[in-house]
C-alpha cells in the first residue's frame, strides 16, 4: 500500500511515515504544493493525507486538482483548522475524512484503513485476524464461527486494536477514539478500562486467543501471541 503525505511540517510527516512503516504502508512525502502536484501527476496512491496550509498554496487547490484529473485517491485532510466551514468545504471538494491536529497516529491509521476499505470494497468487507472475523458491513464479529455479542463501543475498540496491531496504544488515544465528537470533553480516560475488560472477556470466552496486552501504566497493545 502506498500513500502520499502532503505536509509542510517535516517532522510530522516523518512521524507518520515511521509509524505506518511497520504496518506495511509505504509513505511518500511532499512538503509543498508544487511537489505534491508533481507527485500526484506521476503516481497513483491508495490514499493521500493532506495538510491544508502549505507554504506555496492552499490544500483545497490540490483537491480541485485531483478532481479535474479524475483521480480517485481517498483523501484525509489533516489540519489545524477546526471549524465547520473548512470541514464542509473539504468534503464538498471531495475529501473523505477530516482529522484535526493534534491527532493520535493510531487514530490516523485506523481512519486510513477504513477509508481504503471503503474504496476497495468488493462484495465482502471483512477483517480477519486469526480466528476472529469482523464483518464491517453487518457489524458482526465471529470467533471460530461463533457469533460474539458486542456493544457498539466494544466493536469500535476491537477494530481500533486490530488496526493498530503490535502498536502500543495510549489510554488517551483509545478514549478519544471511542468518544468521537465528545473527545475534547474528556478529562479522565479511566473509563476505557471497563470496555477493555469486557471485550477481553467476551473474546476469550468465545475461544479466541488473549491478544490484548496491558502495557504498564501506558495503555494496551494488540499482539499476536
Amino acid at each position: 500500500m502506498k500513500i502520499l503525505i502532503i505536509e509542510d511540517e517535516r517532522e510530522i510527516a516523518q512521524s507518520i511515515k515511521d509509524y505506518f512503516k511497520t504496518n506495511g504502508i509505504q509513505c511518500e512525502t511532499a512538503e509543498n504544493y508544487n511537489l505534491a502536484v508533481t507527485k500526484i501527476d506521476s503516481y497513483d496512491y491508495d490514499c493521500i493525507l493532506l495538510d491544508l496550509m502549505l507554504p506555496d498554496g492552499d490544500g483545497f487547490e490540490i483537491l480541485k486538482e485531483l478532481k479535474s484529473k479524475n483521480k480517485t485517491e481517498g483523501v484525509i485532510i489533516i489540519s489545524a483548522k477546526e471549524n465547520l466551514e473548512t470541514r464542509l468545504e473539504g468534503f464538498n471538494l471531495g475529501a473523505d475524512d477530516y482529522l484535526t491536529k493534534p491527532f493520535h497516529l493510531a487514530e490516523l491509521l485506523v481512519r486510513m484503513q477504513a477509508l481504503i476499505r471503503r474504496k476497495n470494497f468488493k462484495g465482502s468487507n471483512s477483517i480477519i485476524f486469526n480466528e476472529i472475523v469482523v464483518d464491517i458491513f453487518s457489524k458482526t464479529v465471529t470467533v471460530n464461527d461463533t457469533k460474539l455479542d458486542l456493544t457498539k463501543k466494544e466493536l469500535d475498540l476491537l477494530l481500533f486494536l486490530i488496526g493498530n496491531e503490535n502498536k502500543v496504544l495510549s489510554k488517551s488515544a483509545i478514549a478519544e477514539h471511542l468518544s468521537g465528537d465528545m473527545a475534547d470533553m474528556l478529562d479522565n480516560h479511566d473509563f476505557i478500562y471497563a470496555h477493555i475488560k469486557n471485550l477481553k472477556k467476551k473474546l476469550t470466552q468465545a475461544g479466541s486467543g488473549d491478544y490484548i496486552k496491558t502495557v504498564y501504566g501506558l495503555g494496551y497493545k494488540w499482539e499476536n501471541e
Partner: protein, 421 residues
C-alpha cells in the same frame, strides 16, 4: 445618590435667583415708593406754606382768618400752639367722607400775620398714595416677572440646543459595547468643547477597540499556532511509546500523554472561547434540550463512573428553547462535565428541567464558591484539579451571547447551576 439633570440644574439656579429677587424686591420697592411719596407730599406742604407766607396773607385780620378757616378744608390758621419751627407729622384722622380713619401728613408751622403769631396747619390725605404705590409696585413686579420668565425660558431653550450634541454623545457612549462591531458616530458640532470631547472619545474608542481586537486575535492566533507543536508533541509521544520501554520509562511516557492531552484540551477550549467571541451566531433554531441531555446521558454516565457518581434526571418539563444549536450543546456538555469534575467520590448529580429553567445540582466540596469569580477565565478553586478553568467561562460566554441567565447557588451542601432561558 440622587442625580440631577444638567439642564434642570441650570434652570433651577435661575429659578431660585428669580424667586429671591422677587421676594426681596417687592417689600423694598413698596417702602421706597412710599417714602418717595411722603417726601413729595412733605415738599408740597412746605411749598404751600411758603406760598402762603409770601402771598398777601400778611395783612389778614382775625375775621379774614376765621373766614379762611371756614372755607378751607385742608389749611387752617390757628392761634399759636407754641410751634417754634416747621414740623410735619403723620397721623390717622377720621375722614367723614369715607367714614373711617385715613393716613394724613400734617404740617405745623409758625407764621406771623399782622404781627401776631399763629400756627399754620396743613394736612394732606395719603390714601391716594396707597393705591398708586400699589399699582406702580404691581406693574413693576409684573414687568420683572415677565422678564425673568423670559430669561429662564430662553436660557432653557438655548441650553437644550447647546447641550444637544452632548446628550447625543452621551447616548452613543451608553450604547457602545467594545465587543460589538458598531463604533459610535458622533454628530458634528460647532461648539469647540464638544467637538474636542467627541474627537477625544473617538480616538479613545478607536484605540481601545484596536487593543481589544488584537488581544482577541492574539489569543486565537496563539491557540492556532500551538496546534502544530502540539501535533508534533503528540505524534512523537505516539512514536516513543512504540519503543521497547522499561517500566519506569513507560510510566513517564504515560504521564507525558496525560499532560499533552491536558494541553490539547486547554488549547481547544481557548480556541472555542475566541471562536464564540469572534463569530456571529445568527442561526436561531428551536432546540429541545431534553433530547440532547437524554442522547448524551450514556456518555456522561460513563465518565461519571470513575467517581462512582449517581446521575438522576427529572426531565418532565420539556425545555424547548430558541438559540444556536452548537452553542447550546457546548453549554450542556460543559455543565455536565463541570458537575462531574468537581464532584466527590460516590456523589450525586441531579439534572432538572423546569419551566424555562435548567438546573444542574451536584455534590462537591462542602464550601460555597464565590459567584463573582467562578465565571472568570482560569479561576480555579482547586489548583490541582484536571480542569483548565475555562469551562465556566465558556458557559458564561454562551449564556451572555444567547441572552440566557446563569446563576450559581449553594444550598444544603449542594452546588446548583441554574440557566434561565
Amino acid at each position: 445618590m440622587n442625580n440631577k439633570k444638567l439642564l434642570h440644574k441650570t434652570t433651577n439656579s435661575f429659578l431660585i435667583y428669580a424667586v429671591i429677587i422677587l421676594l426681596t424686591a417687592a417689600p423694598v420697592f413698596y417702602y421706597i415708593c412710599q417714602w418717595l411719596y411722603i417726601y413729595e407730599t412733605d415738599e408740597v406742604l412746605l411749598f404751600h406754606k411758603g406760598d402762603f407766607v409770601n402771598q398777601s396773607h400778611q395783612n389778614y385780620t382775625a375775621n379774614d382768618i376765621a373766614a379762611w378757616n371756614k372755607y378751607n378744608q385742608n389749611v387752617r390758621i390757628v392761634a399759636d400752639m407754641g410751634v417754634k419751627k416747621d414740623s410735619i407729622v403723620g397721623e390717622m384722622l377720621f375722614e367723614p367722607v369715607a367714614n373711617e380713619k385715613e393716613p394724613f401728613r400734617i404740617l405745623y408751622a409758625p407764621v406771623e400775620i399782622n404781627g401776631k403769631k399763629y400756627t399754620y396747619i396743613e394736612k394732606r390725605n395719603l390714601v391716594e398714595m396707597e393705591g398708586m404705590v400699589f399699582s406702580v409696585a404691581a406693574m413693576f413686579l409684573f414687568i420683572i416677572m415677565i422678564l425673568l420668565i423670559g430669561i429662564i425660558w430662553i436660557s432653557k431653550r438655548l441650553a437644550e440646543k447647546i447641550w444637544k450634541p452632548f446628550y447625543n454623545t452621551l447616548g452613543q457612549i451608553q450604547d457602545f459595547e467594545i465587543d460589538k462591531n458598531n463604533p459610535p458616530h458622533f454628530i458634528p458640532t460647532d461648539i469647540d468643547e464638544f467637538d474636542r470631547l467627541n474627537k477625544s472619545l473617538e480616538r479613545l474608542i478607536e484605540k481601545n477597540t484596536a487593543i481589544y481586537k488584537s488581544q482577541r486575535e492574539f489569543v486565537e492566533n496563539a491557540a492556532h499556532e500551538l496546534q502544530t507543536p502540539l501535533a508534533l508533541f503528540q505524534t512523537k509521544i505516539d512514536t516513543l511509546q512504540q519503543l521497547d520501554l522499561t517500566r519506569e520509562q513507560s510510566e513517564l511516557v504515560a504521564s507525558l500523554n496525560k499532560d499533552v492531552s491536558r494541553l490539547n484540551r486547554l488549547n481547544k477550549n481557548l480556541l472555542l472561547l475566541s471562536k464564540i467571541d469572534n463569530e456571529i451566531y445568527p442561526e436561531q433554531e428551536t432546540i429541545i434540550l431534553n433530547e440532547y441531555i437524554e442522547k448524551h446521558l450514556d456518555f456522561f454516565t460513563e465518565q461519571a463512573q470513575a467517581k462512582n457518581l449517581t446521575i438522576s434526571t427529572n426531565l418532565d418539563n420539556t425545555l424547548s428553547i430558541k438559540g444556536n444549536k452548537a452553542l447550546a450543546e457546548v453549554l450542556l456538555n460543559n455543565l455536565f462535565l463541570n458537575a462531574i469534575r468537581h464532584n466527590v467520590k460516590n456523589g450525586v448529580i441531579e439534572i432538572v428541567t423546569e419551566n424555562n429553567i435548567l438546573k444542574f445540582i451536584n455534590t462537591g466540596p462542602e464550601i460555597p464558591l464565590t459567584e463573582q469569580t467562578i465565571f472568570n477565565r482560569f479561576s480555579k478553586v482547586n489548583p490541582s484539579s484536571q480542569g483548565n478553568g475555562l469551562g465556566l467561562a465558556i458557559i458564561k460566554k454562551i449564556c451572555d451571547i444567547s441572552h440566557w441567565d446563569i446563576h450559581y447557588s449553594f444550598n444544603d451542601n449542594l452546588h446548583i447551576f441554574e440557566v434561565t432561558f
